[in-house]
Amino acid sequence: MAKAKNNTLKLKFDTSWNFAPAPESKSIASIKDKYDLFINGAFVKPSSKKHFKTINPANEEVLSEVADANAADVDKAVKAARTAYDKVWKKMSGKERGKYIYRIARMLQERAREFAVIETLDAGKPIRESRDFDVPTAANHFFYYAGWADKLEYAFPNRQAQPIGVAGQIIPWNFPLLMAAWKIAPALATGNTVVLKPAETTPLTALKLAEIIQEADLPPGVVNIITGAGATGAALVNHPGVDKIAFTGSTDVGKIIQRAIAGTNKKATLELGGKAANIIFEDAPLDQAVEGVINGIFFNQGHVCCAGSRLYVQESVYKTVVRKLKDRIETLIVGDPLDKNTDIGAINSKQQLETIHKYIKIGQQEGAEMHQSSCALPGKGFYCRPTLFTNVAQSSRIAQEEIFGPVLTIQTFRTEDEVLEKANNTPYGLSAGVWTDKGSKIFNMTTKMRAGVVWANTFNKFDPTSPFGGYKESGYGREGGLHGLSAYVNLI
């Protein structure tokens, strides 16, 4: 009965027993038809009198209309933040500040399911991820930083930590609620006040967070949330009343911001793009490494700055790894984000889908070999199958430029030195992954990789206590942990 090794052996994952639709109910999500700007503790109409639509990328249906803040609105928000800072927040004890933040954390936990559904509707990410990762991690982030508010005297040896003032914060569309938590929590804990601008395609959970902020009785003006697009962000960055900018987004816009504030006293932290190398050695636990690679690039449709988008496989296990990758992507379900079984949801916007398609085409034109899973795609909405590229060179554009989608490039290597050089051979430096069973090799690799977050035998792990941020053009400054406090204090 024994057969020789057969290259045509194939497993069939599309089985006769398959998963029936398991949609999460939308009824828990209460979304208003129209939202105004949240300034000074209340929802106020925009001076521009303009609103713009936000849609569900899974089916292109309109979810709501949100306000378009113009320069006058930005000014109002910054002034509200300044007044709240001067009169209330700066003077409040850390202990009491912390209690407000604890309240926000607890309320977010209480309303977790509602937030998860709204996040999925607005961003297109699978409900399983917003429910199990985005919302709990956001709540935990508030919980963690609430605890620092009255302990800052221990955080910086021999220095007193003072707040900076008004923080202008601009966040992206890939983790809308989580990014809001990452920005607001440390700012408040250290005594600053905030004007936050969510991304234009994903404003809803930030606006719902404003409701929680009202319910928690946070003093008016401490947190202001203004919706808008690039112009609103620019107005915020350029406003003289803002003392500190926190930006997460593309490297291109990060550079614009750095130029814009040059010559001013504004402090800034930037968390920008990445093109992380994920490295599998021959002695890695291969099935778990493959799982880690899959999570690294297909989690959140690949809309992750620290996505492991460049896979390097030691040549001796290359065929086995590629086979395992191909088998695994066959079991990934691309579909309605609200379905609890969906692994890969909708691409966040039409624009982003076009960008991804553009790079897939470039890859094919460059001579790389493309492989996609064979799953069905929904009719409406923006979707992309998980995609692998082999026969990729270090100089291929798809191996150098950030695609921000479910596209993985695969290259081989032979020695540690070679892969270290190739991993570091990029203007980015946000994250990296290494898979090997040998401990001393892990520490060699992690010591030499030029990235702000290195994952060994795991990937895409986040925790409020763990600092996150990049080297080089992936930005500067850290969010999370003890180190995440630095960005929001002046040390005297």
Partner: protein, 326 residues
């Protein structure tokens, strides 16, 4: 209804004496009966349960004017023995919990204590505190729990180190909980002192057995109810009432206790604890000069006092120099 009144009015002349009086709508009513209060039994707290002392002994807690407040368990060495066993059993699970989880539980304890504020104020007032002082003590106790809830996942960040050893090794030092800690609680400040010594010990992953204030025992027993409703696993905190002078020597001798905390100024007891504790090299810690009402009453160093530092070495391979040029 009217016919009933009519009937009754007719019968009224027959009734000579009655303690029933008729109200305006014609219905009978009695003077309201006085409702008897259900008095609380003050038991001890071991392993998440509320047993009585196995010795059956009790003492009478009174206020300063001699008014009897309650019969309180006079705990014995066997209660200590059982409590230590409970604490030891609970240690593995509690120390293995994620720091964040411990923080959530301590925060929950604060929520529960806040919800029972009135009860605690009442008990403190029974034990001679003024309302203002009682309220202040309870508020501080709640805030202290929140303070330590916030330290659970942060003290590691300030007390750990990555050590730049000269050899090619990754070397890191982390704090780990000591184990089972027995505590003689501050005898005054019966609530705030109790909370102030328990919180840092369990925030750091240890489990404990604590003997509350002898003269003012009510709060420590009621505090056990707060612990019991906070998702705190049974055995992490065990609370006994009784004579510290009777129980302390047994604790000091016990070979399965890792550390002892003593909060009173008695030099002879301090010496005795250190002498007996030497039997298994117990860490004996004395907090006899702490004003629990001040800022000095809370700090991460109270957590650190019950931690051991574990240092680990692991080689860093240094193959060639690839990637070392920035």
């Amino acid at each position: 209804m009217f016919s009933a009144v009519k009937k009754y009015n007719m019968a009224k002349s027959v009734i000579k004496k009655s303690n029933i009086h008729i109200s305006e709508n014609g219905l009978e009513n009695h003077q309201p009966e006085k409702r008897l209060e259900v008095l609380k039994t003050y038991k001890i707290y071991i392993g998440g349960q509320f047993p009585r002392t196995e010795s059956g002994r009790y003492y009478i807690a009174t206020n300063s004017k001699g008014k009897k407040l309650a019969n309180v368990c006079l705990s014995s060495r066997k209660d200590v023995r059982d409590a230590v066993e409970s604490a030891r059993n609970a240690f593995g699970g509690w120390s293995a919990r994620a720091a964040f989880n411990r923080g959530q539980i301590l925060y929950r304890m604060a929520e529960m204590l806040e919800g029972r504020k009135a009860q605690f104020i009442d008990e403190l007032m029974q034990q001679d505190a003024s309302r203002a002082k009682a309220e202040h003590e309870v508020n501080l106790s709640i805030d202290r729990l929140i303070y330590y809830a916030g330290w659970c996942d942060k003290y590691q960040q300030i007390f750990s180190a990555v050590n730049p050893v000269a050899s090619s090794h990754f070397n890191f030092s982390v704090p780990e909980p000591t184990g089972v800690v027995t505590i003689i609680a501050p005898q005054h400040d019966s609530l705030l002192g109790l909370v102030s010594v328990i919180a840092p010990v369990i925030a750091g992953g240890n489990t404990c057995v604590i003997v509350g204030s002898y003269d003012k025992p009510l709060s420590c027993v009621t505090f056990a109810e707060v612990l019991n409703s906070s998702d705190l696993p049974g055995g992490v905190v065990n609370i006994l009432t009784g004579k510290a002078s009777e129980l302390a020597p047994w604790m000091a001798d016990h070979m399965d206790i890792n550390a002892m905390i003593y909060c009173e100024k008695d030099a002879a007891t301090q010496k005795m604890l250190r002498e007996k504790g030497a039997g298994n090299v117990k860490r004996v810690i004395v907090y006899d000069k702490i004003n629990w009402y001040s800022d000095a009453g809370q700090s991460p160093y109270f957590i650190n006092d019950l931690q051991e530092i574990k240092t680990t070495w692991h080689p860093i391979e240094n193959i060639g120099g690839g990637g070392s040029k920035y």
